[in-house]
């Protein structure tokens, strides 16, 4: 057991945990956050995605020790109903999610991809989003929302 300090959505936090415990359990169980979800525990779906220093990571396999002294951002820290990230605003406008459990993977991955390449083409977006899962089949709506966000950011 060791104490790990990091920030989550701008707030300083500390967690006592074994170094190999995945960050997801620190966020959900120790810190009581709702939004990162357990989907597979294998980095195969994306439901647990958060940003670590602005880069999307799968918190279900990232050891909590790797987050020490770093900046973690969840979808709730990406934007808020009052100050939404353009992707969040586009998601609402397009009514994208169905069950919504997969949403962290898509939004957090797309947000990082658009930061690097705001004008990403359809093919580049599909490539950037490879490996993410959505079981309700909202893929076409996801692409619509990302393109809407791109035009709102342009």
């Amino acid at each position: 057991m060791a104490t790990y300090r990091f920030t989550v959505d701008g707030k300083r936090v500390s967690v006592d945990a074994q170094p190999e415990m995945p960050l997801l359990y620190a966020l959900r169980d120790d810190l009581g956050l709702n939004n990162p979800h357990f989907g597979c525990g294998l980095a195969q779906c994306g439901a647990c995605t958060v940003h670590l220093e602005g880069e999307p990571v799968r918190s279900c396999v990232l050891p909590v020790s790797a987050a020490a002294n770093k900046k973690v951002t969840t979808i709730a820290g990406l934007g808020t109903p009052d100050k939404p990230h353009p992707l969040q605003a586009a998601y609402v406008a397009e009514g994208v999610p169905q069950c919504g459990y997969c949403i962290n993977g898509w939004v957090m991955t797309a947000a990082a991809a658009l930061k690097k390449n705001p004008k990403a083409s359809d093919a580049e977006l599909r490539e950037a989003l490879a490996g993410l899962k959505c079981r309700c089949g909202t893929h076409v709506a996801i692409l619509r929302a990302i393109k809407r966000a791109q035009s709102s950011m342009a």
Binding site: G39, G95, C99, Y101, L129
Partner: protein, 734 residues
């Protein structure tokens, strides 16, 4: 807006359910019993004039709650934004069957429409007494009943109080539950709110992470649990080495017969304990055939039950008529998994002899019944509360999680949250049934189809029931020795082809293992719809080609129901069928009154075996349309999930266990294979009562892709999925 704000009053009738505390609603004095025959069970007017509609089904992310709000608002003459829909809680709603068979609108909303119309009638009658104006002279505008200067609001009439008004209940429970009332619902011509594209209500909290799923329910003192499913089918426990987890803080084993679980105060410790616990399992001898023998097994297995659902003319004689050309084919469909986005989760708490279960099951009223039976409690001592779960497309693993949580809460004496690991959601969920379809048709010299036969043979779609009301239908019940009683049922193609001599039937076979089988079957989105129509709508294409006819023209020649013909015509027109290039396919089907036709255009990469369904056109007729935008996205989800099922999905197994345990061993469609476009044409028929939209489209996707693949390559693939390996192998042989 708080998504669970409802019926909060300052007086004695306080009923609170503020998100996200998941507090239990207090049953206040004077409230009529929660029975379908009480108007108060369906509609409440709050002191501020807002309306609660209590709904005994629930929305799984396709906006059903918005449809309820629109219809209730329409009948009550209030703005839809004033209507809060309270769903899926056995403490506040009657058992309308949960999410089931795409009946949310057809059955569920029909009842609420009647209740709202009756509430309006009663309110106008009471206003008439108060205002001294005949009811016929009163008009209602946004909750204000008025005639000239005289007016009174709904809130003034009954806000925060109960109607105490009886309605006539048909004494049915579940999907058929209905009421009859003296009030007459509005005619579609008068609709102002129904038909409008109002937005979904659950999008914002999901996008901003401001509220919780069932996985986020937390209770004070709660333990985390993991259930240890056996490594193979139907294993018995010989022994457990509890010392294998003694180093893990607070971890404990809970075992009852062959049901094994671990609990711990911290979730990660429960996960570690589940991974570390040494259980000595006694496996069963090779319960399954080798996977490559699956379809031979089905063909050769003894028929448990046969049913010929459509029998017309003399089929045998017509096949034997001289000079006819006989076309025949067989189609094969594998076991498939719900593979919901997250493994199921449930939380249970026992207090003062009562049990509350928070569940993602789409049928919480049946969860209540099942938990009551499992724990030996009266039904009124169990409350099941549905909270949005990680996806639900039928009887997935959610029911098992709810039963497990309830048992573990009692066994541990603490509130328990249980969630599966990935394999529990993929390997151990109930499966859609594997099946083989035998089809043949006879064509005479003029090209006319004179005989047609389509018979499916496969595992029943209900080796466990469609809901969790009986412990025998849950893994925990079976692990404790309660034998399941499988229902034998399958289905036939839903179409109106007017072939003179026609037989549509099915045969079911026994399941491999009668208890604790990871290949037990139950309902998966559009139960047996994609399975059957993958065969039947490809076969119609094969017959059309044998008769030298265009697949669209052939369908139009034989379809006898004008609504069926209309969707085929519409999709052909919108897709530009006649001039579409190579790689096009059409399929059509009906589902309980909803007609849907789809055209797919695919590209096949011969080198990789990849099939990309690049463009799709859908024509959809479900009668009266309540909300066109939400209907459109619901259809899109069906299209993509259908593509995933036909192109990628197949449960892999060896002689004694399911080998599809995660997304690598059970791949589904990803973004790279998502279509470029899905164009949906909605046919609105205000004069026809609305039927369902949650499932019909998925049943036509597989055959449209199969037909398009044939058009692209000249090769007919009759076994699903059309995975890259299978496509490559088939094209190499061709």
């Amino acid at each position: 807006m708080d998504r669970r704000e409802f019926f909060k009053t300052s007086g004695a009738l306080v009923v609170s359910f503020a998100a996200p505390s998941f507090e239990v609603i207090a049953q206040s004095a004077g409230k009529p019993a929660l029975l379908p025959g009480e108007l108060d069970s369906w509609i409440a007017i709050l002191p501020n004039g807002r309306v609660n509609a209590f709904f005994g089904k629930m929305d799984m992310g396709q906006g059903l709650d918005v449809a309820v709000a629109q219809v209730v608002a329409e009948e009550l003459d209030v703005g839809a934004d004033r209507v809060e829909v309270v769903m899926g809680d056995t403490g506040t709603s009657c058992n309308q069957g949960g999410a089931s068979g795409s009946t949310g609108v057809s059955n569920g909303v029909r009842l609420l429409r009647r209740a709202a119309a009756e509430a309006r009638r009663v309110l106008v009658e009471r206003a008439s007494e108060k205002l001294g104006v005949p009811a016929a002279e009163l008009k209602v505008m946004d909750g204000v009943v008025a005639a000239g200067d005289k007016k009174i609001t709904y809130a003034e009439l009954v806000g925060g109080r109960y109607f105490h008004h009886k309605v006539e209940w048909n004494k049915q429970v579940g999907n058929p539950m209905d009421i009859s009332v003296p009030a007459k619902a509005k005619a579609p011509a008068e609709y102002k709110v129904v038909g409008k594209p109002l937005p979904r209500r659950d999008v914002a909290w999901k996008v901003f992470g401001t509220d919780g799923f069932v996985t986020d329910v937390r209770r004070p003192g709660m333990l985390h649990a993991r259930v240890i499913r056996p490594p193979r089918a139907a294993c018995k426990v010989r022994g457990i080495d509890e010392s294998s987890i003694k180093a893990i803080r607070g971890a404990k084993v809970i075992r009852e017969k062959d049901f094994v679980a671990v609990v711990a105060p911290k979730e990660w410790d429960a996960v570690r304990a589940a991974q570390s616990l040494k259980v000595d399992w006694q496996p069963m001898e090779t319960p399954f055939p080798a996977m490559d023998q699956l379809y031979e097994h089905i063909r050769g297995a003894k028929v448990v039950k046969r049913q010929d659902e459509v029998k017309k003319g003399d089929v045998a004689a017509a096949f034997n008529a001289p000079g006819v050309k006989v076309v025949q084919a067989e189609y094969e469909w594998p076991f498939q998994s719900h593979a919901s986005m997250g493994p199921a989760c449930a939380v249970a708490e026992l207090k003062d002899g009562s049990c509350t279960v928070w569940t993602g099951s789409q049928k919480p009223h049946f969860v209540r019944d099942g938990v009551a039976r499992l724990l030996g409690l009266p039904e009124d001592k169990v409350r099941a509360i549905w909270v949005t779960g990680p996806g639900s497309y039928g009887r997935n693993d959610a029911g098992d999680a709810a039963m497990d949580a309830a048992f573990l809460a009692r066994a541990s004496g603490k509130p328990v949250r249980v969630q599966g690991m990935r394999a529990d959601g993929t390997a151990w969920d109930p499966k859609g049934p594997a099946c083989v379809h035998r089809a043949r048709a006879a064509i005479d010299a003029s090209g006319k189809v004179v005989a047609y036969e389509f018979v499916s043979k496969g595992f029943s779609r209900q080796h466990i029931a469609t809901n969790e009301s009986q412990p025998a239908d849950s893994l925990i019940g079976q692990a404790m020795g309660v034998p399941p009683k499988p229902n034998q049922i399958f289905g036939v193609p839903a179409e109106s082809y007017g072939f003179e001599n026609k037989l549509l039937g099915w045969e079911t076979i026994a399941q491999f293992v009668d208890h604790c089988s990871p290949l037990r079957t139950a309902h998966l989105r559009d139960p047996v719809g994609p399975e059957i129509h993958f065969g039947s709508e490809q076969f119609v294409d094969e017959v059309a080609r044998a008769a030298g006819a265009d697949p669209v023209e052939f369908r139009l020649r034989y379809l006898t129901d004008p609504r069926h013909a209309a969707v085929v015509k519409a999709v052909a027109e919108k897709s530009g069928w006649a001039s579409l290039g190579k790689g096009k396919g059409i399929a059509f089907a009906d589902r309980n009154g909803t007609a849907v036709a789809v055209v797919a255009q695919v590209e096949v990469d011969r080198a990789s075996g990849r099939v990309w369904a690049r463009k799709l056109w859908v024509a959809h007729d479900c009668g009266l349309i309540i909300n066109p935008e939400i209907l459109r996205t619901t259809i899109e989800g069906n299209v993509v999930q259908g593509l995933s099922r036909v192109l990628f999905e197949e449960v892999r197994f060896d002689r004694d266990s399911v080998q599809s345990v995660d997304w690598a061993s059970y791949p589904i469609l990803e973004m790279g294979d998502a279509p470029e476009s899905i164009e949906v044409t909605l046919i609105d028929r205000p004069e026809v009562a609305p039927s369902g939209a949650g499932e019909p489209t998925i049943r036509v996707i597989p055959a449209a892709v199969g037909n398009a693949f044939f058009d692209a390559t000249g090769v007919r693939l009759r076994r699903a999925p059309l995975s890259p390996e299978r496509v490559k192998a088939a094209l190499a042989k061709a």
